[in-house]
Structures are given as C-alpha cells and as structure tokens.
Symmetry: C2
Subunit: 363 residues, 2 copies
C-alpha cells in the first residue's frame, strides 16, 4: 500500500501490536467501520483478545509468529511506542506499518525526539545528551538547576527520571538511571499541562482535536478536561505545533502531543506519543469521530473523520480498585468504559469515565 | 438472578441469540462495559462473530447446543423477536432470559400485541382476529375500508400484509396470506411515523429517548430524524405510552415502540419490538448512553444510563450497494457504521450513517 493506494475495503484486517486497552479500543473502532482486527500480544490474558476472534499470542521478537501475523493482515499498527526496532523493520518488509518506523525511532528515544523538535524549530525545553559524569556537570552549569535527568528510552508514567538540584543529586541520578546515555532537560515551571490529539493520513489530510487540560496524580494521568482553561490563541498555537509535527514526520495515524503551558501562555512540547493517547479518551464520548476511529481511518487510508466536539467533558481514569465504581457508583451523566482486565492492581489503568455536560435544548 | 440480585460484575458473559448487526452492536456495547459476549447463531458467517471470540454455531432448536451455551453465560438476551417459544422456555430454565418470555409472546403475535395494548387502554387502531372468510367479511363491514389484513406472526419490513379496499381484495388477501389466523386492522391515515426507544431494568428504573421521526422506503426504514417534527405535548405523550408498555410487561431491556401520528396530533401504537431497534441507531452518535449500552445495562441488572442527547441527528440506513458509500463518499460530518457483512444483497441492511449537527461553540 503506497500513499496513492485506495482505501482498505470493508472486511480488511487491521493487525494491532499490543493487547491492552488501547488495542482493544482500536479494535472496537475498526469493527464500527466494517474492518476486522487481529491482535498480536505475548500476554494470553490481554483484554483486547476479548473483542475479536483473530489473535496471535507470541513474543514481539518471534520471527515466525510475526511473519504469520503479517501474512494474515492488510495493514499493521500498534498501541505502544516501544515496539522493538527490528520487529518494526521486519513487519514493514511484509505489510504497511503505520505509523512508520521513523515515527517510532523519534518517539522511542527522548534525545531523538528533542533533536527532531528543535531541528524543526518547534518549542522544547533546553536539553543535552549526557554520556558521562563530566558532561553532566558541565551541562548543569550551562542549563542551571533545577534540571531533570532522564533515560532516553522506555520511560513512562514518571519512571526513568530524577530531578537534579545540585551536583550531588546529579552524581546520584547518574548512578541510578539506566540505560545510558541520559538526557538532561531544563526544569520547566509550568502553569498547566495540555495535550493535542492530532491525526494525519497518507494523503496528507490533518485533523486535530480541541486541546485537553491534563492533571496527573502519582505521575499517572488523572483527568483530561475539555475545553482547557487556555486562551484561543494558545489553543490555536498548540494545534499549529501538533500539525507541524505530524507533517514533518510524514506521519500516518493518530499522535498525542503533550505540552507545558508556561505562565506567559507560551508552549513547550513535553512529549509525543505515536499512537492513540490516554488524554484523548474524552473524544469517544463527545466527538463525531473519536481518536480510535480516526487512527483506524488513517492507517486504513480512509478520509479522516470530523473531530468536532458536541459537548464539554471531563475524562477521569479509573486506576486500580477505582474500577469498582462501575456500575454501582456512577454519576448518571457519566459514560463509563471498563477495559475488561481480569486483575485489578495498584497503579493499573482499569477503565475511565467521561462526565459530559449536556446543555438543555428546546424540545 | 432475580430482580433483587446484584449487578452482573465486569467479566461476566452476556449470551446473545442472533448474530446480525444488532447482536454485533450489543456485543460492542458490552465490551465497553467490561462484559464479554457469547454469540449464538446458526449462520457461520454472522457479522457478530467478528467482535468476540465466544460463539456457538447451531440451530435455535438444538437442545444440546442451547444447554452448552446457557452453561457458559451469565444472562441471555436476543437481537430478534422470533426466538422460538420452546427455545425461550428452555433457556429461561437455565439462565435469566431478558427480556422475558411474556414480552416475546406479546411481540411475536400481532393479535396478542393488539390485545395487550387495548387491555392496557393504550391507543391502537381498531382490529379483529380473522379465522375464516365469513368473519373477514363481517369485520370489513364493521371496520370499513381501506383496511389492512396481516399475518399474526413473522411479519417484518412490510412482509405478510395486504391492503384491502373491497370484498374482492379481501378474498384474495385471505387466500395469499399465511399462516392463519390473520388480523384485520383499520387503515390509519397518518401524518408521520415516530418511534420511542425505551428501557427498563429489573429494579423498575425507566429511561426513554427523544422520539425519532421515521421515513420508510420500499417498506424498509430509510431515515430516523431527531428531533421529530411534533409538538412537545405529542412527544411527552409518546414517552408516557412507551413507559406504560414496559411497565405493564414488567419488561427488562430496551424496546422500540412505533407510533403513527395522526393529523390531529393523536398517537396510535403501530408495533412494539422487544429489542434494540433500527430507529434507535442515532443514539450511538449523540447520546450519553446509547440504546445498545442501555440494553446491556438493563439485562445485566445495572443502573440505566442517561439517554440525554447532545446534538440533532439524522440516521440513514445503507441498504444493499449503498454501503459502498463508506468510506469514499461520506459527508465529513457523518459518522458511519458498517456491519461487516461479507455479501451485499438488495434490500439487506449493510450499515448506517449518522449526520450530526454540531453547533458552533465559543472556544
């Protein structure tokens, strides 16, 4: 399938790497478009296996299983950015992999991500690659404290980073964080965090959702509120930056772009995720086209859908035992989504709810 | 499970008789609630088999298959009202069957349905049971012409009925329509057709959606428009009647109630369907809780969700080759739903679209 190819016809099979809630919600969206999903995941208890009969239970680096999977599907996508590079290459040799390997390469490596953004003149915090302790000390002199030292790979939900206030902190952080190299970033005092869910298809069509304002708790997303308490100018700028990112990457699919909003209203890109994003779960409740359908449309070479929003909304994650709120303790104006995970563990994302504000209308 | 039982916990399995688009959309909704679905259908190519790994391919009157199915599920529901009575009884002996056998009995038989409605003082056209030609002639004298002669069972999409303008028509219709007995109904000149989707759970909670205005083409639903062009008083009356019906039946689940609106604004109940209903497909696009989730909530003993509507909408069925409009010819404000049916046949419901009107809001 090239950029000029026709849309995947109904009945085609979308291969999805990863069997968690994002893969599950992608598969549900594919169903609504008349497409089938084949889930590939090493964990036999993956929640996405409950929403399609087509599955592969195998390691992500099992060439025979990957080849068989690729043979059965029409296009391949993923629910997580840490797809091994060799796996991505192997699959892309067999079937279209969307988003492509360049998006994975950038998003898997904090340093590559920062470099990509700054090369494209997109606003990021000052940063430096740290290969040894001497370099760390020199860069702390340059960037100042507080600063944040981070691993370049496999960090999520606050893992793999430490705040550095002085040289002693720096030495300890250098010891503790692994693997090397690391990246040092200026610590950004910010007023709020927002994110933009943006989609691009192979034809170059781009659609972005209204920015959401995100609140974290214990380093895990707690709520996303739409609209965000930002000016129209800031919102427009966030959409412009998100659009520039997907265009610079020649990206196909949905991407989550996280921003810090400084007290002067200026934006800095914090992180990009080459996939559907937790801070876009509100779209399923109030948008004409939700992020899951939008991602499937993009990877299936379909025209993008309308991201227009029908109502104001607050998405709240249900972490660990909070899932027990469904169904007994739900507010009646709440729309729940439970991920069907068999076991509730502390810190595990088990579901979410969307609190929707419906304006009274004339009959 | 009795009326006082607790809600079915997440991870429970909803058994669904019927593997068409309604069963498929019920299964998708169950997934969003963390429930699993087991589809039972004799047709191995049923579209609902694509959205869950749990399936039984067997005849509806196969006791061994039914028993095995019942053993694997926690509650049983259905997507079509023509479940054989013996099947319903058999299943209800093993697991809760919702809606119950009384709802099936009333909805499967036009005469039972009319009798139920008139006993409950709910507005229906004049009707009479017709057991022989003499009786037919006598009732035509009584009711007048035009009148409509219908089979009592298995009629849908305009099948199994003939308009009678005189005694010659009557004799021909009596010959052609089968099985006997038949039912003769007064022909109702109406201004428009509307329907109300109403839900009731075992705890007696009732939730009704705004009435939809329905237009048929070739006896198949073409569009449902919400809001309907009726007065607030007529809308309120329709909701009141729909509520009275589910309460009189001690009903559990979603029901579709079709009405004729006469030129004086008066309502007559045309038909009831003890299941999710084609004229409620608009709810998935613009309501906090759609009809599919509402049905699953009711049969799973959950609190009902909010039927509030976020936007105006027109649902349009895609019949036969009209499905080819997805994805190429979609209006951008349209939300599509393709049922994943392998073969497009004339008159076959292949999918639908929802055209949504989103009001411009301040940023």
């Amino acid at each position: 399938m090239t950029q000029t190819d026709a849309p995947l016809p109904q009945g085609s099979i979308v291969g999805i790497l990863g069997g968690g809630q994002l893969g599950r919600m992608l598969a549900l969206a594919a169903s609504r478009l008349g497409l089938k999903s084949h889930i590939y995941c090493p964990d036999p208890d993956s929640p996405a296996f409950d929403v399609t009969p087509l599955k592969t239970v195998a390691d992500y680096e099992d060439p025979a299983a990957l080849a068989a999977f690729a043979a059965e599907v029409d296009v391949i996508t993923y629910e997580f950015e840490n797809v091994p590079a060799r796996t991505a290459e192997f699959l892309a040799d067999h079937k279209p992999l969307r988003p492509g390997a360049n998006a994975l390469a950038v998003a898997q490596d904090r340093l590559a991500e920062k470099a990509f953004l700054s090369i494209n003149r997109l606003p990021v915090a000052h940063f430096a690659a740290i290969t040894d302790l001497d370099r760390l000390e020199a860069e702390i002199e340059e960037i100042g404290t507080p600063a944040v030292l981070k691993t370049t790979r496999l960090g999520y939900d606050g893992k793999g980073q430490r705040i550095v206030d002085n040289m002693e902190d720096a030495a300890l952080a250098w010891e503790l964080l692994t693997p090397k190299p690391l990246v040092l970033e200026q610590f950004i005092p910010f007023e709020r965090e927002i994110s933009v869910i943006v989609a691009r298809n192979a034809a170059g069509q781009v659609a972005a959702y209204d920015p959401a304002e995100n609140v974290h708790r214990d380093h895990i997303l707690h709520t996303s509120t739409v609209p965000a308490a930002i000016t129209g100018k800031t919102a427009a700028k966030a959409l412009e930056i998100a659009t520039a990112i997907v265009e610079a990457l020649n990206y196909v699919g949905v991407m989550g772009v996280e921003f810090f909003v400084r007290d002067n209203g200026k934006l800095l890109v914090n992180e990009i995720a080459p996939r559907v994003h937790n801070s876009g779960h509100w779209t399923e409740a109030v948008c004409i086209t939700d992020q899951f359908e939008q991602h499937i449309r993009a990877v299936a070479n379909w025209p993008l859908g309308d991201p227009a929003r029908m109502a104001n909304v607050v998405m709240e994650n249900l972490i660990g035992d909070e899932i027990a709120a469904i169904p007994g303790q739900l507010d009646p104006t709440t729309r729940p989504h439970a991920y069907g995970k068999a076991e509730s563990r502390a810190g595990r994302k088990m579901g979410h709810i969307n609190r929707i504000t419906v304006k009274k209308r004339k009959k």
